[in-house]
Symmetry: C2
Subunit: 343 residues, 2 copies
């Protein structure tokens, strides 16, 4: 059983995988893609993954057969287990919880070697639709307080398979970084009765120097305190606390917008490795346990996506301090990204 | 001038280097060592670094000439500048400060291709002595609230030059991760009148399963909630809040201990890339401005070193959540590290 473990000095939860034990010799190849005889995410290889939990497929095709457009399967080596118990206990000064949660893979296309950025618009929309539907479905389980959807592109960004995919991790606790943002947004709302992210978007529109793209109701900018070169923050201009609430019309608009941003990054930085993280509201259906925290969340939080190209390495300074040295200015990064020509 | 920039949503400071601007094409090679015709850290090449600020050298040799054992020079491309102004201002919802600070390199040996782990004991002691002396010297400047000493070993861990070296960054603010630890330690002391790290060491001694080495008054264990495989935490068993206060006798003892740990990691994991971070008290000579925070620091904080082998990659999950999935248990890591034979 995987375990959540809490460190009282670092005030941090860590997931410890107790089953698939990494031996020292296993760890040397983590920089490479897994070399498999055939890709488990390709159409026709459906039997090599755990049974699908959700898919967009032709109406006459049975589950776990060809004929799908987007397919969601449990991770074959899950960090967390949906059928775990709910043990929580102290271990001396430490705390421990069973590793309950869900860990799924969203296979973005049946085709092997095509990036999200290069998929047809309709297919990008189906990927985004799958994000929304997985959020809505997993929110029905009140054990899951937060659903993290993210994408690792390229092996240096942590992807272990080359076939385009996103990941979904449903967590029984709200992660520390999310809590920091939630509390900052809540405090801002309490003081001003305005959404902090709406305010930041307005300010970036006025300042202009960090704007990357404003189009179709969505807005992307290089954050003022970007940790990494060419980091991109994007969000809907109109306030919306949760990606689970996005309309079909906005999914359509956002697929245009996201494709545009992904192509700018791909062209300018020559298909860099990157991480892509969706930040959205916690599961409000688990609300009764946290009334204080979440009473204003529909007004104070605002979903957004961060894209972090993995061009520089994290070193001792960053681990030791928790802050970052960025060798380039966001103003210059935004200018470069603005000037890319997308046909 | 480098800038500190604060993000109100992430509650995080970032250092933005505004002078050495990274262009997109500069960023593709960050995984490689810089290839220079001759190494600026080698004996005989002293004129290729900025003038030394401190050195252990033969008494009859002038500064910036051969004849040294450990040499400390300003970083040629500093993230922060010692002669900066002290501008602090709001930028709309953001905050900005001049990038005042110091950024130094400790060259650990005049010889090019020898790791810290393989240096003679006497030389390891001189490296540790240089850590203590740089702390003591930089503490005289009350602008510097925290001095971070760290070491990146191997290019995957962020080292840009192969010649063994550590780095020193003097900061005008206490970094977020350090503040989290300081506040956890302070709260524990307020409740129990005991040091949290002393208590954790006692508990690990009792539990035994995560102990790596107890020797010569120092103690190393695999943290209960290790973020990474084979992470090591080490500290003096006897309470001491600051590495600047370490005695000559303890420097001698700790050089034995550190060498032992570094060799275990090197042998077991085949000379892996790693980051090494010294965590110590903030600059108490800057105390008058922060009486509340620091009144008990000599009792509640306890210096320690974390070593993080860089065997697995950080991906979207970690960026998005701020917590970590560790594919191995610290109990097994400790067992492997305990069982390494050091001649």
């Amino acid at each position: 059983m995987p375990e959540f473990r809490y460190d009282p000095l670092q005030k941090r939860w860590v997931i410890i995988a107790t089953e698939r034990q990494a031996r020292p010799s296993d760890l040397h190849d983590s920089a490479k893609y897994n070399h498999l005889e055939s890709c488990p995410f390709c159409e026709g290889n459906e039997e090599t993954t755990p049974p699908e939990v959700w898919a967009i497929r032709a109406p006459d095709t049975p589950p776990n057969s060809p004929g799908w457009k987007v397919r969601v399967v449990p991770n074959k080596f899950p960090a967390l287990k949906i059928e775990a118990g709910e043990i929580k206990k102290g271990v001396g000064y430490y705390d421990m919880m069973d590793g309950v949660g869900a860990h799924e893979v969203i296979i973005e296309t049946p085709q092997h070697s095509i990036d999200l950025a290069d998929l047809p618009l309709e297919q990008i929309k189906l990927v985004l639709l799958s994000y929304r539907e997985r959020l809505r479905d997993l929110y029905k389980d009140p054990r899951f307080k937060y659903i993290l959807i993210f994408k690792n592109h390229g092996k240096r960004a942590g992807a272990s398979l080359a076939h385009a995919h996103s990941q979904v991790i449903a967590l029984p606790i709200i992660p520390r970084n999310v809590n920091i943002k939630l509390s900052a947004a809540k405090k801002h709302y309490e003081e001003k009765e305005r959404c902090l992210i709406c305010d930041l978007i307005e300010q970036e529109k006025d300042t202009q120097t960090r704007v990357i793209l404003s189009d179709n109701g969505f807005f992307a900018f290089a954050p003022y305190a970007s940790r990494f070169p060419f980091e991109v923050f994007m969000a809907p201009i109109k306030h919306n606390y949760s990606f689970a609430e996005i309309t079909d019309e906005d999914l359509e608009r956002f697929s245009h917008f996201l494709r545009n941003i992904l192509l700018r990054i791909k062209i300018l930085l020559k298909n860099p490795p990157f991480n892509f993280v969706l930040s959205t509201s916690p599961n409000t259906q688990a609300l009764p346990k946290f009334p204080d925290q979440w009473v204003t969340i529909k007004h104070d939080y605002h979903w957004h996506i961060d894209i972090i190209p993995r061009l520089v390495r994290i070193a001792g300074f960053e681990w030791g301090s928790g802050f970052y040295i960025n060798p380039s200015t966001p103003e210059l990064a935004a200018q470069y990204l603005r000037e890319v020509t997308i046909e």
